[in-house]
Symmetry: C2
Subunit: 334 residues, 2 copies
DNA sequence: TTGTAATATGAAAGCGCTTACATTATTAAT
DNA sequence: ATTAATAATGTAAGCGCTTTCATATTACAA
């Protein structure tokens, strides 16, 4: 690897001049500039980013911490981040916290070592313990789908509550009264909001919440599958099921099919997320669309703007609305 | 951010001692070590990774360049890489080449600036133009699903040819003679191999390859959908379709359903990849399982071993075998 | 020409760290 | 107690760059 010194020597100038050329800042005679550029090309030189970062305190990298990496949801998240980061000339340092808090602490620490200029953090299970850690970091920090009272950071999230409310309301409007729910992880913020939305829709129509119809899940397909098994084995099974995400809804459909139950005739199923595959299952899944791409691209723009101090103003907490996607599995639109 | 100097001053030692403590290398009296550690904790100090990297010429980061980031396939790739990287104490710098070659050149250059210690590159459309660029880099480089003659780098790939051969052979064994194919992108190595496998299976059973039954696709669902539309509009439609990946197969199933064709009775459909959702579509998709996780985790181990010079030996080019997953859409196992 | 301002370049410090080498403190052996 | 060997610590150079400040060059007007 050639250094600035090699280029300087070969071009017969000082390293300062070479540096100036590569930062196209101040005055360099155009003849000199060309000479330097040419020499640099010959030596396949490009500035060492570590040395540069050491001086500038910038790495053009943003750290991304996600709770998990598998599935279409995260794939969409990553794609959105990558797209705007690339456009703005930033790299992304990706890691998963594996949904474990101590892991996250380790990650955050690492990222605060000068590796990244800003942080994009998605942690639906974010807890108070991390507050001190997060607030000592003076790195620009933007939160995704994370709720943490008392932390002054830009946050972008999706209106899970209203999304769930809408889809359950839709079910009720089409005559369902007994609606089971397969819930997400208890410590997950999204999951809790969705559950509240479910309850709110019920309450609004004077349907009492029945704990017997609420089943635990973990956002994985398997848990939807087993949840449905249990639902179907009830003495008086419900006529509809709200799965707190599409993966579980798909698992639930699977279980229903095995039990030879027709969807939506015997039992309607709705999900949440609108993952790409949800329109390809049969029957097509009625669900709630999450504007993931929109959320993450805004968040990424924001963190970069903060880094570049283009935005120094108020903290922004923005909730994006999730919309109902009526398809076939709810039984109302054939 | 506190520096090593701050810690040294406060602890009343020299920066060298602090450094030693954090590199648990040579001799430091345990009393001193404790003092330093304690002070560091008080100041929330952790070594600046850029400065360290500048000296050590190491960043504990591996660069990952993928052709695309969307869909379950890449999600699985990323998960696999993240898992072993995290275990081995490495970070991952992720970027997509967006399947564009010039983009890739830019990325490779950036990564060679000392940002990463090694490179994991997936480029099914890798072309000769990049050869010089790749070979000048003296960074450890490991290729995934990329074929490039003349480039001496460890490579891991999946036996696409044999996978396709197997699934098409399976179709033939169950009586199909007219088997259409929806192909992947022409410049994609995987796609070409799968197509060859398809042809080989045909040839072996003395079925001539019929260009009329070969349709272009691009690995996206849409193209499977439209491919199937065209297949069904043929005067004498085939009895089976081999889609070169699952996404297209699912699109094709969609088109078949719309045309009220029963799968597999009217037309059998098989795919390739075994993406998680393939077992949840209806009927369940018969496909070829790709040992993605296995491939990427091996590749990641390898690149890290190279970085750490634990492996300095021969270049390894390893092909992992893809296995047939017989489910329902081929019509043989109900 | 000469002087002056503007422009172009170089010298050198320093970013935060590691590490070879020099120095000092400690221990063990005589 | 004295010395040699060993262990612990400090000093200082330098990784590759940016940037301030000083110096040299150039351009232009008088």
């Amino acid at each position: 690897m050639n250094t600035i010194k090699d280029v300087a020597e070969r071009a017969g100038v000082s390293i300062a001049t070479v540096s100036r050329v590569f930062n196209d800042s101040s005055s360099v005679k155009s003849k000199t500039r060309d000479l330097v550029l040419q020499t640099a090309r010959e030596l396949a030189y490009s500035p060492n980013i570590l040395a540069r970062g050491l001086m500038r305190k910038k790495t053009e990298t943003i750290g991304v911490v996600l709770p998990d990496l598998s599935g279409e949801f995260f794939s969409e998240v990553i794609r959105g981040i990558d797209e705007v980061a690339a456009r703005r000339g930033y790299h992304i340092l990706l890691s998963s916290s594996h949904s474990r808090l101590d892991d996250m602490e380790r990650l955050l620490r690492l990222m605060a070592q000068g590796r990244v200029d800003g942080l994009l953090l998605m942690a639906p299970q974010l807890r108070k313990d991390l507050l001190p850690l997060l607030s000592t970091t003076k790195l620009p920090l933007v939160l995704l789908e994370s709720s943490l009272e008392g932390l002054d950071a830009d946050s972008y999230y999706i209106d899970n509550f209203r999304g769930a409310y809408l889809v359950v309301q839709h079910l009720i409007e089409h005559g369902h009264r007994r609606i089971a729910v397969i819930m997400g992880p208890e410590d997950n913020f999204d999951a809790r909001e969705r559950h509240k939305g479910y309850q709110a829709a019920l309450t609004e129509k004077d349907i009492p919440f029945d704990g017997e119809l609420a089943f635990k899940g973990d956002f994985q397909k398997r848990s939807g599958y087993f949840g449905m098994k249990r639902i179907l084995s009830l003495d008086d099974p419900p006529t509809a099921v709200f799965a707190a995400n599409d993966d579980m809804a798909i698992g639930a459909m699977e279980a229903a099919k095995e039990a030879k139950k027709a969807i939506p005739e015997d039992i309607a199923i709705v999900g949440f997320d609108d993952i790409p595959i949800s329109r390809y299952v049969s029957p097509r899944l009625t669900t709630v669309h999450m504007p993931i791409y929109e959320m993450v691209s805004r968040a990424t723009e924001r963190v970069i703007n903060r880094i570049e101090e283009a935005e120094t103003g108020e903290i922004e907490k923005r909730m994006l609305s999730a919309g109902l996607m009526v398809r076939q599995s709810c039984g109302c639109s054939y």
